[in-house]
């Protein structure tokens, strides 16, 4: 790194010494708007290609000095079309600005550059700050959900601060499929530190031609995030944005009450040939019992305060923001709380006419308290759904009660929440400093040094408690007590450094040939250190005293651990854009990536791409006036996924393979290599072809974009199982393949010509994905452990989607013994009231060979739609989002335990011939295995959700000007107000747990809250 830094630094300074200066004269004029002929107060006038600029005054007048007669003046005014005029020798230039709603001239940030939207030949989707503003969102990924075709965002949990799953054009790999996030040019691992209010735009590079410039890291798509800065020559602004709100559960499940529970239990006993429990002899006496969902769900506050200061002079601009955000969880309240403070300073300044320096620096502190969630074993939610309603929350003496019936996992969830203390505190600085040098008219050189540094501390405390009625005997089950407290801490230090140098050449030949050439290098070094320890038997049982040093036990009870990882990436890249007469677009990119993560035999990867576009509407033959813009695009490219682990190519002799020796049972270290090495290990490759069409009708009122793509993954890393006779684990190898095909459409209509403005838009993505190969001898991968069925619900195999549900097919309920005997043999204990499973292979026996694919957790269609109306400052906007064609495996009931509570659908169970053909009878021992993995638990997970609904009012600026306020807005926003779905669980939006092979299994997911906020936004 040091050598690299030094050499590139020297290069930078040499290059900086080129620069050219010229002569100048002054231009004045007045800017007005059309229609209306109002002064365009605050419109910006700049000299194209320089930083010189000014703003129009209250009468729309401006004065600017231009460097020479060939200077082009650019007039910009929000909501109006940009006007460019060559000044010539004129001293006065008056301008009429025409209202514009076209996005064609919008400048889009692309990999290592920027392009006008109309010139782009790849596939890029954009989310703008106005889509993000005034919504109760915590993370940047939430801003992407439903907003862009082809980008599927799934909330993995509704708990504050939990991550989201973002998939660009489907899942290309069974391994890490997260896109690459680039914030202001810096690749960041996890964008959780970003304050969504700081974001100006998010551009998602979807096709390989757009993302291939990111080479070995671009395979899962690239999300380019630009944080808010300020334009030059903009008057200083101070904004305060705040909202407060309350969140609550959107719905609770309908479970049995105590009386119903007792009835069902009694029946289950009788069915198993046993005597019912005496305490359930009179169910009515038990009444309603405990509603455990009510006990754990709570109303929770959410709030945000943001201060934004921006301003720009002719030679500098800055943006300074500060934010405090706080959200509690609807389960656990402050035990699931997220607090964040962010401070950001983005600025830039012309040090010399040819040299601009700048910085984008953000500091984030956040603290997250987390509960166990999304596990079928011991999360508070799954416990609340399963614990019997007979047990009270508390005993008569006020202490928490435990269930006499529940077994092992299903403990008192209210107590479990109270005993949870898991705190993560993170301090993170992500920042870059850069210098931009103009080298003559056509070259520019930019050198950027970036750093992403996280210091985080995790502290977990397991207090001592015992729910026993008789503390001396301590009769409570193991899950309801902990006899020794324990504290565990972890310190994390993650560091990413990047040095990047980019040389850009732009030129226009004969007014028709626009060329941009970009070349650069980047060196990235990542180092992660972590250490931690644990200790037990602390004298205080209070979280605030829970530190390793505070113990009464000898030092020997402490344990400690430490890890360290380092990786480096060294890359060269080049890009060329050619535009002929705004009509023919050509682009090519190339990247070479050397990575320390790749095995010795494959140290470098090479990633090319090509794209072309044809703006039909600029062609001579074009005569359709209604279609003001039409562009055909095609692209092809290749890129890679390097998230393969830092040292996967090598084999590590793992210590900790311990054994116990000696009279005092001393744990003694053992070491062995658990898998073999693979020096051929390399990146996963994705090759993608895309064709697209962009249309703009009626001067921008209607915009349409359509894309079709084929995305093929090869060299997918997969530890293809090797025969167990090897005795060691399979090395991971680049053997598997997959394919995604899809269509993405987006269409919007906007009308802002009259005082009544309205817009409506939508996007929809269709996707089909399947695994096409698992290597030679590659066996299907089974995943998704379902404890209640003692099996796995998901299967990944060639010719099928990832992690598709696999199991038995139900065929109604046996109504009589005759039906049992007539059907294929299921089990010795099968009786009327049990489920009949289909004998798919017709061999007269129901066994593992009668399993088949019973569902697909990946949506076939995902979509989003927005609508907005505005009249005299009153805005009403709505945003819908949803999926279609995905299945959910309902794993919320622990059928492996005889005493758990059930959904009230069990009240419609079979009780005799003709009573039910869907809900089996209840039985304590379930000899027929009615709870086996079958389509009984596969539910349609499609949903449409009113993600947000906002009503806002902006006070007329005429009133506000008197009190020196530019803008004052009040609003109410509702989030997740309505959800239309057939799924009966807490939330149909079921994300990914851990890896891509745990899809769509509802393990009692922490649901997303229904939130209502009231907010205010003031700009001075």
């Amino acid at each position: 790194m040091n050598i690299t830094t030094m050499r590139l630094g020297i290069l930078f300074f040499i290059l900086c010494s080129f620069f050219v200066a010229k002569a100048q004269h002054q231009v004045t004029g007045r800017i007005t708007t059309l229609p209306g002929n109002e002064p365009a107060i605050g419109a910006t006038v700049t000299v194209k290609g320089s930083n010189a600029g000014t703003i129009a005054d209250f009468e729309g007048k401006y004065t600017i000095t231009i460097p020479d007669d060939h200077s082009i003046l650019m007039f910009t005014y929000t909501g109006y079309a940009v006007v460019e005029i060559e000044a010539g020798i004129r001293k006065t230039i008056d301008v009429m600005m025409k209202e514009s709603i076209s996005y064609l001239n919008e400048v889009i940030v692309t990999g290592y550059g920027a392009q006008k939207r109309s010139d782009i030949s790849g596939s890029v989707s954009t989310v703008r700050s106005e889509d993000i503003a005034e919504k109760p969102i915590l993370r940047v990924e939430q801003a992407l959900q439903g907003r862009t075709a082809g980008v599927q965002v799934t909330q993995t949990s509704g708990s504050p601060g939990a991550g989201l799953t973002v998939r660009v054009r489907g899942v290309g790999t069974i391994n890490n499929s997260d896109p690459l996030y680039i914030v202001d040019g810096m690749p960041v691992e996890n964008p959780d530190y970003l304050n969504p209010n700081d974001i100006e735009t998010i551009n998602v590079l979807k096709d390989a031609a757009s993302s291939a410039i990111y080479g070995a890291r671009g395979a899962n798509g690239v999300v380019l995030i630009t944080t808010k800065g300020s334009a030059r020559n903009e008057e200083g602004k101070l904004s305060y944005d705040a909202y407060f709100g309350v969140q609550r559960a959107a719905r609770l499940l309908d479970l049995l009450n105590a009386r119903e529970y007792a009835v069902i239990q009694n029946e289950a006993y009788v069915a198993a040939g046993q005597t019912p429990l005496p305490e359930f002899a009179n169910p009515d006496a038990l009444g309603e019992g405990t509603d455990w969902q009510e006990a754990i769900f709570t109303n929770a506050p959410i709030s945000s305060h943001q201060l934004t200061l921006t301003g720009g002079k002719e030679h500098s601009s800055y943006a300074l923001t500060g934010n405090y955000f706080s959200q509690e969880g609807i389960v656990g309240g402050d035990k699931a709380k997220f607090d964040r403070i962010t401070v950001r300073l983005n600025g830039n300044q012309d040090l010399k006419p040819w040299l601009t320096v700048g910085n984008n620096i953000g500091f984030t502190w956040f603290k997250r308290d987390a509960l166990l969630e999304n596990t079928q074993y011991d999360s508070p939610i799954v416990r609340a759904l399963n614990i019997d309603p007979v047990t009270p929350i508390r005993k008569a003496d006020g202490t928490y009660a435990y269930s006499n019936y529940s077994d092992t996992d299903v403990a008192n969830p209210v107590n479990a929440i109270e005993q949870t203390n898991d705190e993560w505190r993170s301090n993170r600085i992500v920042g870059s400093v850069y210098a931009d040098a103009k080298l003559g008219k056509r070259f520019s050189f930019r050198s950027t040094f970036s750093m992403d540094q996280t210091f985080a501390l995790q502290r977990i405390f397991y207090p001592k408690y015992d729910l026993s009625n008789l503390p001396l005997i301590s009769e409570a089950p193991a899950a309801e007590k902990r006899l020794k407290n324990q504290v565990a801490v972890g310190n994390y230090n993650w560091r990413n450094l990047q040095l990047e140098n980019v040389l850009t050449y732009t030129n226009t030949f004969n007014e028709k040939h626009d060329i941009t050439l970009i070349g650069g290098t980047t060196a990235l070094n990542k180092r992660d250190d972590a250490s931690g320890g644990a200790n037990s038997n602390l004298p205080s049982n209070d979280f605030k005293d829970a530190y390793i040093g505070n113990t009464i036990d000898p030092i020997a009870s402490q344990s400690s651990w430490q890890t360290a990882n380092e990786s480096s990436l060294l890359s060269w890249f080049a890009k060329g854009n050619y535009v002929y007469d705004n009509t023919y677009l050509l682009s090519a990119t190339f990247r070479a990536d050397g990575s320390s993560r790749f095995g010795k035999n494959n140290r470098y990867g090479y990633f090319p791409s090509f794209s072309a576009g044809w703006v039909l509407s600029h062609a001579a033959f074009w005569s359709v006036d209604e279609i003001s813009f039409a562009k055909l695009r095609a692209s092809w490219g290749r890129n890679g996924n390097d998230r393969i682990g830092d040292y996967s190519f090598t084999t590590v002799v793992s210590s900790g393979q311990n054994y116990v020796f000696g009279p005092n049972e001393t744990i003694t270290n053992g070491s062995v290599a658990l898998s073999s090495a693979n020096p051929d290990l390399k990146w996963e490759t994705i090759t993608q072809t895309d064709i697209g069409l962009d249309l703009e009708l009626f001067d921008g009122r209607i915009n349409f974009t359509g894309d079709y793509y084929i995305k093929k993954t090869s060299d997918m890393l997969y530890a293809a199982p090797i025969p167990l006779v090897a005795g060691s684990a399979a090395p991971i190898q680049n053997v598997a393949t997959a394919e995604n095909r899809g269509v993405e459409l987006s269409l919007d209509y906007r009308n802002i010509e009259h005082t009544f403005h309205y817009s409506i838009g939508g996007n929809i993505s269709f996707i089909k994905s399947e695994v096409t190969g698992l290597g030679t001898g590659g066996e299907p991968v089974y995943s998704g452990t379902i404890q209640s069925a003692n099996g796995k619900a998901s299967k990944t195999d060639v010719g099928h989607p990832l992690a598709a549900f696999f199991g038995f097919v139900t065929d109604g309920i046996f109504q009589s013994q005759a039906e049992v005997e007539a059907a294929a043999f299921q089990n010795n204990g099968t009786s009327p009231g049990d489920i009949r499973f289909k004998d798919l292979n017709s061999d007269g026996v129901i066994d593992v060979n009668d399993q088949t694919y019973i569902g697909n957790p990946t949506p076939k269609i995902s979509f989003g739609a927005t609508g907005e109306v505005e009249w005299k400052g009153i805005v009403l906007s709505a945003f819908f989002q949803g999926t279609q064609g995905n299945d959910i495996f309902d794993n919320t009931v622990r059928y492996d335990f005889a005493y758990v509570n059930r959904p009230s659908s069990v009240l419609d169970r079979w009780t005799g011939p003709g009573t039910s053909n869907t809900e089996p009878h209840v039985s304590l021992n379930d000899p027929n295995q009615n709870a086996r993995i079958s389509d009984r638990f596969v539910k349609d997970g499609s949903y449409v959700r009113l993600k947000s609904l906002q009503l806002g009012y902006t006070l007329p600026s005429a009133w506000l000007r008197k009190v020196h306020i530019q803008k004052f807005k009040v609003y109410i926003t509702g989030q997740n107000l309505l959800t239309f779905t057939k799924y009966k669980g807490l939330d149909p939006e079921i994300g990914v747990i851990g890896n891509n092979l745990e899809l769509g299994i509802d393990r009692g997911f922490y649901p997303q809250p229904r939130t209502v906020i009231g907010g205010v936004s003031v700009t001075f």
Binding site: I3, T4, R7, L8, L11, L15, Y269, Q274, D407, F443, A478, K484, Q486, T521, S536, T563, N565, S568, L570, G594, S595, S596, R597, R603, D646, Y647, T650, V652, S654, S655, Q657, N658, Y659, V660, F661, E665, T666, G670, S671, V672, A673, P721, I722, P723, L724, V725, A726, G727, G777, E779, N827, G829, D847, A898, Y899, L924, N925, D926, P927, Q929
Partner: protein, 496 residues
């Protein structure tokens, strides 16, 4: 402009040529690679300890407890659990409707070969290490024992299996099965070498308590000889153990199985577990606790899963001499018994699961469980694999077949006297049957029964009513997944 291009190119070329290698070559910072390990005596010890660690495997990833195969498959116990669905595959195997693709058998197969791999690594990597030669020889002996033990489990369960007597290269993964005789030959030769190379139990420092010893190898060799019906060899090898003076019967049978009875003077080969905290479910590579405790404890108040439930037939065996054999009360819990410090055994207290008996030999008190963390995988009870009483009974059996009925009776009666039951005076077949019966009583619930029945050709007679078909269920099926993974290089056992 050309200048700029040159200026840009020069450092790029320098970059490529000079610093790229340092920048991109990254080896693991924490931990060691095979390249820099196996250099010292400590490394050799760590290598053989990792092989020992494989002995502890019980769920890797699915259950393959020794008592699954030795007890549940036999007439001594039933599967138990919360119902038929709880480990249903085990029920299928137990009732001899054996599926060929259960994770249970696959896990057993995988765990055995993982142990063999780890032992093979020791046998390949340790010899070149410069270290104390005496210790090195012993370590190699221990590795051979562990390899032999894993092959012993494989051959008794599956018959002939792939003979992985070295660390396999990927090209060898599709190795076909060797004959059972070839595997037995390897076991015998490994154990003979191991018995020679390892030290006597009394020669090990006390910190090494729990390691396998010369006596362990000799005792396992006796077992191997019995399987092959090499009576004379079995008899003389058993006498080597008996005459070594290293082992003796514990005076009171009841003192063998509690925690304080671990590694006592009767212990010859015992898999070590402790109630270490923090272990996890799943492939328990780094876990020092046993899952047997929680699996075999009663449910409900006793916080177990209630597996390995003794049958009435097994209980009845203890009453066949007209009195209750005193060993019964150390072997099972009956309704009304105190289950240690966990409470009184009633059907209600077990959560209503109607099992009248539970295994007592693997019971642990609440006070003995892991102090914090998940106590479930952290049972501390050692697995008594070979006890001196077993060697005496094997000696009796071998002596009988070798024509020495007196020797047979002497050894048999040593066991009976300790158990405080009358001595046997029978001869001929009645003596042999008495020896067989004594094994059931003395070694009950210690995972011997099913294999004893198969080994002595009595399985069809005893287990036939339960579905056992001779010539089929003497062996378990080769895991179907392994036949597939090797593209059919492995053949299936007959009848499956």
């Amino acid at each position: 402009m050309k200048k700029i291009i040159y200026i840009l190119l020069v450092p790029v070329v320098i970059l490529i040529s000079s610093c790229e290698k340092d920048f991109l070559d990254k080896a693991p910072i924490v931990g060691t690679t095979e390249g820099n390990f196996y250099r010292t005596g400590d490394d050799a010890m760590a290598a053989v300890n990792a092989a020992y660690a494989s002995l502890q495997f019980q769920l890797s990833p699915e259950g393959h407890f020794r008592w699954f195969w030795g007890d549940v498959m036999s007439d001594d116990t039933n599967k138990g659990g919360s119902g038929d669905n709880d480990a249903n595959a085990l029920l299928k195997l137990e009732t001899f409707q054996g599926p060929t693709n259960t994770g249970l058998l696959e896990s057993e197969w995988g765990a055995d070969y993982e142990g063999i791999y780890r032992a093979n690594v020791v046998l390949e990597k340790v010899p070149p290490i410069q270290m104390d030669e005496k210790l090195k020889t012993r370590i190699l002996g221990e590795a051979r024992f562990i390899r032999a033990w894993n092959f012993y489990q494989l051959v008794t369960m599956f018959g002939g299996v792939p003979k992985a007597d070295h660390v396999l290269a990927p090209s060898e993964y599709n190795m076909a099965r060797s004959s059972a005789d070839e595997i037995w030959d390897l076991i015998e030769s490994d154990l003979i070498t191991a018995a020679n190379d390892m030290w006597k139990r009394s020669e090990y420092p006390s910190a090494d308590l729990g390691r396998v010893t010369r006596g362990s190898a000799q005792a396992l060799l006796v077992k191997a000889y019995l399987w092959r019906e090499k009576w004379a060899e079995a008899k003389s090898m058993a006498e080597e153990v008996i005459n070594s003076g290293e082992y003796q019967l514990v005076p009171d049978y009841a003192d063998i199985f509690p925690l304080y009875g671990e590694n006592n003077e009767e212990s010859i080969f015992e898999i070590q577990y402790m109630n270490a905290s923090g272990g996890n479910w799943g492939k328990n590579n780094s876990n020092e606790g046993s899952f047997t405790n929680v699996f075999t404890r009663a449910r409900g108040l006793f916080a177990g899963y209630g597996f390995n439930i003794p049958t009435q037939d097994f209980i009845d065996e203890f009453f066949k001499e007209g009195f209750e054999d005193p060993r019964l009360k150390s072997t099972v819990f009956r309704v009304g018994d105190e289950m240690g410090d966990r409470g009184t055994f009633t059907i209600e207290a077990t959560g209503g699961v109607p099992y009248p008996y539970y295994s007592k030999k693997t019971f642990d008190n609440k006070s003995e469980t892991a102090p914090f963390g998940d106590p479930n995988p952290n049972g501390g009870t050692n697995d008594r694999v070979i006890r001196y009483a077993d060697v005496l009974l094997m000696h009796a059996e071998a002596s009988y077949h070798a024509g020495d009925e007196n020797g047979a009776r002497t050894s048999l009666n040593l066991v009976r006297v300790r158990a405080q039951v009358p001595e046997i005076t029978a001869s001929g077949d009645a003596l042999l049957q008495a020896i067989y019966r004594e094994r059931r009583l003395e070694l009950g619930l210690e995972a011997h029964r099913f294999f004893d029945l198969v080994r002595t050709h009595r399985a069809a007679q005893v287990l036939g009513p339960l579905g056992f078909a001779d010539g089929v269920h003497n062996l378990f099926p080769i895991p179907q997944s392994q036949i597939q993974a090797t593209n059919g290089a492995l053949s299936q056992n007959p009848g499956y």
